[in-house]
Symmetry: C2
């Protein structure tokens, strides 16, 4: 399942679809909107934009790469675009493999590759402006009003 969606991601469904009788492990990753409220300004929400259909194709290519490198029997990547509020999921990944070591490696690889090659951009909407940032998860650059 490789999808770009405009509403909330049903993470439970993504994982359930990955579970298979020939696999003992599903490793899943969920990227969520993180806000840092330690300063006076704060992120109110994130907004994602994708360049489609390139983004859709790149998600499928990452799945193919993973299945060439590891004994992964199922790979799903679902990325949300549009506004994503604090704590909500922007991306969900689920990889099933016979053994857990391969599942963990492949799921980690998926999120790194998404950040490298999928044309999806993130805008942080702050209480006092906004800033475009390149990566989907984890980073919080200094605020710039725009």
């Amino acid at each position: 399942m490789f999808r770009i969606v405009e509403g909330p991601i049903d993470v439970g469904a993504v994982i359930l679809a990955a579970q298979r009788p020939d696999c003992g492990a599903v490793s899943a990753f969920v990227g969520t909107t993180r806000v840092d409220r330690s300063g006076e300004a704060f992120v109110r929400y994130l907004e994602y934009e994708a360049y489609r259909p390139m983004a859709d194709r790149k998600l499928r290519e990452i799945g193919e790469e993973i299945q060439r490198r590891w004994d992964a029997r199922h790979v799903s990547i679902v990325h949300r675009i549009g506004r994503v509020d604090p704590g909500e999921a922007s991306v969900a990944i689920a990889v099933a493999a016979p053994r857990r070591d391969e599942a963990f490696q492949a799921s980690r690889y998926a999120i790194e590759r998404i950040k490298q090659v999928v044309p999806i951009w993130k805008r942080e909407v702050w209480s006092d402006g906004y800033v475009w940032v390149g990566s989907q998860v984890g980073t919080r650059p200094a605020a710039q009003t725009g």
Copy 2:
């Protein structure tokens, strides 16, 4: 959330409970019943037994260990006991952290520690007998009828 349950695990709910506005990443692991049908005999289902309340306490201790070692803001471990059919989840882990590297490390650590210290035993029920095995996920010893 540290629980031993006797019915299906609601994996989506375990992950949703982990999502927090101060975290950018949730790494989840789901251990599932794997069957190998390449031979004449095959695993029909698994059966788990726990020595409680020791098992409950050990799950909580693993959560505490993780929160000492990593900046993990939420840890959940739910383990199912009783009969678990092929493809179904026997254990679900979800760790939320501000950054994905810590989330992945902590979730991987959790499943390794569960196998080391939690008194839960697994019985493989085969088409032609059963065999007790020590580990919760991933291994498939040669069949022994019992």
